[in-house]
Subunit: 307 residues, 2 copies
């Protein structure tokens, strides 16, 4: 194999109650990346489209991951990369994670799948660190494993793949404003009331149970966030209006995707997803803020090889 | 039917990471209660053995529940109760819960099972309130539903029954000291670090996933409590020694049962449970504190009709 083209999905991290521990992969939105094997060692980015990102191989999340893996594997070849960003950095849909995870997955194909999904996640976390300063796992793990994931532990890293109820759909709106991850982190409380923490983990238990049992009502009841959402929603204009319109149109629940500004809603089935899509569109179209809006399946596979 | 004899199980609440939200029923230990239908309305306790509890029908958890249900159902009969406590009040194994839940279950048999498990749980929570001042659900729900339960929400009450991996065994030691529930509540922090809360709910997600997938390793890794155990363990003499000996002997994990002083350990299979039993016995036998020690299956059924 000399060249490879892959799709690396956008991801929704946190999933309301599962702040900093849960995430899922999206099917409709993601990056496309090509990998070309070269006899010359090392990594080079030959083209980036769809977003204005650095070509510096040590500062770009994708190339930094490729470089690290090639070194670690003591590869006797190099890689030339192209990256087509299918969605914007800073959306809260795991843009750097898609690049980093895609890079790890892609290179691994040239190494006879030497590395496990867990190992690829660790490499991709390095890419997150390069891009954002923190080796967060929830987005990259969702991209690599696909479907729903639970980051049970960082030390040691333990990723649990959870089942995806078949009719689950996601509707997401990306208002074209910037929420800096740093700001989204800073508004979080350092401590939370024990009472709220208990509610939060009871809902995590409920969400996980609902995913195993295809219990959409339980999933819906569990999609509550008493921790990040109250602190962060003021950073996202018209958050309450979007959430309310989504739930009113039949969504199972809605919340902030990652650190925002994207707002996601989970729905049961295509018909309700369509209604939720329209309701959110109605709610946002006169706000004066540009936005992108999409419907997607939850992507059970994660990465896909295009050719 | 004129008389009925039932077994109402002891229960382990919290289950380490699931503080105030999870619980499971024990098979080997519980109360036996008899219910005799009388033409005279109202409730009367005719005999209590195994513990020194009040015969005042409004203050005894069991009779208070019976009275409430008979009133609510507008029953044209009364009940005479006997209670044999198979384990001590104040053990942390849900003593008042066993009485209250058993009472609700028993009376329901005379009402053609008019009430659902959820409704019985609500009645039994009233018994908890009578006995302890707080209508806590985790012990009574575990007794009524059997197996593992998750109290996802109080408002509205939502109880999720979780599966029980077949080889799961519990070893529990009840040091014969008193831990007042009030004291155990008072040592808890009102606020907890967000970081610890995240770890805790990631582990709740892991434990729930492990129960669905019979993944004993995942169950083991998830049995971590950063919230109640660090605050409460000083109330329980030799807690660390018991936990360490249990884990060393192969237990999946160990922690405080309810508000203590009972310490529970979960194990995979009879052989390891036996080893853990012996290890805990060794660890405690020279402490100068009397104790009871038992091995049990997790009780998937909860309540049992004896005759």
């Amino acid at each position: 194999m000399k060249t490879l083209k892959i799709f690396s999905p956008a991801t929704v991290a946190n999933v309301s109650c599962g702040f900093d521990s849960m995430g899922f992969a999206v099917d409709a939105i993601g990056d496309e990346m090509t990998f070309t094997k070269t006899t010359e060692k090392g990594v080079k980015i030959t083209n980036i489209t769809g977003a204005d990102l650095t070509y510096d191989v040590d500062k770009n999340a994708a190339s930094a991951v490729v470089k690290k893996i090639l070194l670690e594997a003591n590869a006797n070849f190099g890689i030339e990369l192209t990256i087509h960003k299918g969605f914007s950095p800073g959306s809260g849909l795991g843009s750097s994670a898609a690049s980093a995870a895609g890079a790890a997955f892609g290179v691994n194909q040239f190494l006879e799948n030497k590395y496990s999904e867990l190992e690829l996640t660790k490499f991709a976390m390095f890419g997150e660190e390069v891009a954002c300063g923190t080796p967060i796992a929830d987005n990259v793990a969702a991209a690599i494993y696909g479907g729903f994931v639970l980051v049970r532990s960082y030390e040691p890293l333990d990723i649990i793949k959870l089942p995806v109820p078949e009719k689950l759909r996601v509707v997401a709106i990306h208002p074209q404003i910037e929420v800096k991850t740093k700001d989204a982190r800073e508004v979080l409380p350092k401590e939370i009331p024990l009472k709220n923490a208990i509610t939060q983990w009871a809902n995590v238990g409920g969400l996980v149970s609902g995913l195993y049992t295809n219990n959409y009502e339980l999933i819906s009841n569990s999609l509550v966030d008493l921790v990040a959402e109250p602190a962060r929603k003021s950073l996202i204009p018209f958050f309450d209006e979007v959430k309310e319109s989504a739930v009113k149109a039949g969504a199972l629940g809605a919340g902030i995707s990652g650190s925002g500004p994207t707002i996601y809603a989970l729905c049961e089935g295509d018909e309700i997803a369509e209604k939720v899509h329209n309701a959110i569109n109605e709610a946002y179209k006169n706000t004066g803020i540009d936005f992108e809006l999409f419907i997607s399946k939850v992507n059970p596979a994660g990465m896909k090889i295009i050719k």
